[in-house]
């Protein structure tokens, strides 16, 4: 684990991340191949189910369910979920999840925070988005840096820990038991992707809502 923080990103991790991006792109192309129809087919049903779920969760967290916000949250969720899911692949070089190296969660957290600022800028104007960083006082900027740290460390700690445990178990008992460990590991894999998306949606909701209340007061 400390090596994962200290060392540079290995090439296989970059390759795995690109692999995840290619898989997601192919999935998106397959799901949206036929285009929108009044009577949905199988693929459109799957795509609509996923989108509806995100719209529901986003509205639960208080985000105004707009297309840009949901697209942003959904892409974050699926990238993290598929990166984490590589953990359960039985193929040796491909089962290193990119999120178990600190650089990847840090990049995702930066995407989340800067994405929040951009989404706020789209809906409330760029001046308001920048103002949000310094309101009510400039210390808010430190809080945003704290968000980046907490998001990235949470994802890295969970998935890196999970990966380290599975490696240790594999060393002690190479047959049978790792299957059970991987099955139990499916829970944090899903929950961490979900939590990352939820926290990003709360940041987005907070930023947009804050600007909304300010404009309504004015």
């Amino acid at each position: 684990m400390p090596q994962a923080i200290a060392h540079n990103l290995p090439y296989i991790t970059i390759f795995n991340f690109l692999l995840v991006c290619i898989i997601l792109t192919i999935l998106a192309v397959i799901l949206s191949k036929d285009g929108f129809k009044e009577v949905p087919g199988e693929r459109q049903n799957i795509a609509e189910f996923c989108l509806d779920w995100f719209f529901d969760k986003a509205s639960d967290m208080g985000v105004s369910s707009t297309k840009t916000v949901v697209a942003f949250l959904a892409s974050l969720f699926f990238v993290i979920l598929f990166c984490n899911l590589l953990l359960i692949l039985p193929l040796s070089p491909f089962n290193i999840p990119p999120t178990s190296y600190y650089s990847v969660p840090l990049a995702l957290a930066l995407c989340s925070i800067f994405g929040t600022i951009i989404v706020t800028g789209v809906y409330r104007g760029s001046l308001n988005a920048v103002k949000h960083l310094f309101w009510p006082n400039p210390l808010q900027l430190i809080s945003e840096a704290g968000h980046i740290l907490s998001l990235s460390l949470r994802l890295f700690g969970n998935i890196g820990g999970e990966y380290a445990v599975s490696i240790q178990v594999l060393k002690v008992a190479p047959y049978g038991i790792p299957v059970v460990i991987h099955l139990i590991g499916l829970i944090p894999v899903f929950i961490q992707a979900f939590v990352f998306t939820l926290l990003t949606s709360t940041f987005v909701a907070g930023a947009i809502h804050h600007e909304e209340t300010k404009t309504s007061k004015a």
Partner: protein
């Protein structure tokens, strides 16, 4: 003496945080489950809030884990 401290400190750090976090998580899950059984119609929303609260507590444990790992890395 320094070696003893370096071995002892990460252990104490992680044990204390794990115990406190487990107690706090227990409290969260008990309250959320009570709410879910009383009002099953808001179970989905309660589950989401429960996950967010647990994630916030978990983050503190992971900070301590990182500190413990950094301390453990100093042992020769």
């Amino acid at each position: 003496m320094r070696e003893i401290f370096l071995v002892f400190l990460p252990t104490v750090t992680i044990v204390i945080t794990a115990v406190v976090a487990a107690l706090s998580m227990r409290r969260i899950s008990v309250s959320a489950l009570e709410g879910m059984t009383r009002q099953p119609e808001v179970a989905g929303q309660l589950f989401t809030s429960m996950l967010v609260s647990m994630a916030l507590i978990e983050a503190l444990v992971i900070y301590c884990l990182i500190v413990a790992l950094m301390l453990a890395g100093k042992i020769d």
